[in-house]
């Protein structure tokens, strides 16, 4: 098996902070000197490109082009470290080995793929060749919320699955379904990450409670923060404000990633 590790990040519901967390974690991993890829398999509602400063104009070839046989995976990989914008957080990625494999945000192309479906053999080949061709240490997969087929595929091929949840009963129930599926697909490393925890909570107690409930490690508890909301996915928050409590808490996930 190739050396590169696949880390899928999933949440049962949308708006949990999956894209923000994935982008920041991938960036922190790249700052550790690792070669990192980030794939947006949320084909019907792509978003993580925004955190890396890409828009429709800057975006070159996409995963959609690859799935339609119009681009190789090498052409889809967009080097973040060589295409920086002015934002203070992202600027720290200069020269780092981080590539984004974006999904198209053109409505025509989204519509086309929803209509035609997806060749999963080709999608899997693309993900595996991204690891080989870019010699990646880590490939992070930002998934669509819920359990659709792209997500199930990403779970089936992952070395690690990071499940993000809010301390909310809807999230808790949904997450337990995903945990069952991930266990039945033998994902070697499963861990949870709590985001948007109200600062008034006792984080240690919350962590222990959820760990007991799922019998899984909780890598960290990230606070609900107006500062993150205000950042509005405009920059990589953990790089821009490394001392912030959200960033510090996110950094607590890094050892889990580096030990896979």
């Amino acid at each position: 098996m190739s050396q590169g590790k696949i880390v899928s990040i999933h949440s049962f519901r949308g708006g949990t902070g999956k894209s923000n967390t994935t982008a920041n974690l991938a960036a922190l991993t790249a700052l550790e000197g690792k070669r990192v890829g980030v794939v947006d398999t949320d084909i019907q509602s792509p978003g993580i490109h925004v955190l890396f400063g890409l828009d429709d104009e800057k975006m070159g070839k996409t995963l959609n082009d690859f799935l339609h046989g119009k681009a190789t995976i090498r052409e889809v990989g967009f080097s973040i470290g060589e295409n920086l914008t002015a934002e203070e957080g992202r600027a720290k990625l200069a020269g780092k080995k981080l590539w984004l494999f974006p999904s198209s945000i053109k409505s025509r192309e989204i519509s086309q793929i929803l209509k035609e479906g997806i060749d999963f053999n080709l999608l899997n080949e693309g993900l595996q060749s991204a690891i080989k061709e870019f010699d990646l240490d880590y490939l992070f997969i930002d998934t669509h919320p819920g359990l659709n087929e792209e997500t199930l595929l990403s779970i089936a091929i992952s070395d690690a699955l990071l499940l993000i949840l809010r301390p909310d009963n809807q999230d808790l129930q949904g997450t337990s379904v995903t945990v069952d599926v991930a266990r039945s697909l033998d994902v070697p490393n499963l861990f949870l990450l709590i985001n948007k925890a109200l600062p008034k909570y006792d984080f240690a107690a919350l962590k222990e409670n959820i760990q007991n409930q799922f019998q899984l490690p909780v890598a960290s508890v990230l606070p609900l923060s107006f500062d993150i909301a205000e950042n509005a996915s405009g920059d990589l928050f953990a790089l821009r404000h490394p001392q912030h409590e959200w960033s510090q808490a996110l950094r607590g996930v890094l050892p889990y990633i580096l030990n896979i």
């Binding site: 098996m1 190739s2 019907q44 409505s107 025509r108 989204i110 519509s111 086309q112 929803l114 209509k115 035609e116 479906g117 997806i118 060749d119 999963f120 053999n121 899997n124 080949e125 595996q128 060749s129 359990l147 087929e149 792209e150 199930l152 595929l153 779970i155 089936a156 091929i157 337990s176 379904v177 069952d180 599926v181 039945s184 697909l185 033998d186």
Partner: protein, 125 residues
């Protein structure tokens, strides 16, 4: 929660009665074959020798004998869940993943949006 899991499995099965294996089918295979499927997905194409080598590392109580492994590979190939390239000791195996079917409904929403956006931008110019 097996109830939800089964329902999910059934929904996906019902919506797609076509060739190929889905991740939920993989989840229902015996543990040793799940490991082999994972290997094949990660390698894209796995040589028979590597499959045998991986099987030898499976815990003893789950491990398949060489002939049971050969039978399993043949059965999965027969079913269209694996693709065999070449034969015998030199064979390569790959997983044949079931295609995701398209949905006219969801794409309809996006294409009407697209038409509207195009119209809006031509109205401006």
């Amino acid at each position: 929660m097996p109830g939800i899991f089964d329902r999910l499995n059934k929904e996906i099965k019902d919506s797609q009665r076509q060739e190929g294996i889905s991740p939920l089918d993989i989840a229902q295979l015996p543990p040793a074959m799940r490991k082999i499927m994972r290997l094949m997905l990660r390698e894209v194409q796995a040589p028979y020798a590597l499959i045998c080598e991986t099987m030898e590392k499976v815990a003893e109580q789950e491990r398949l004998s060489r002939s049971a492994l050969d039978d399993a590979l043949a059965a999965l190939t027969e079913q269209g869940w694996l693709i065999q390239i070449g034969a015998g000791e030199k064979a390569l195996y790959k997983v044949n993943l079931r295609r995701k079917e398209g949905s006219a409904l969801m794409s309809g929403i996006w294409s009407s949006l697209d038409t509207k956006l195009k119209k809006d931008s031509s109205d401006k110019s």
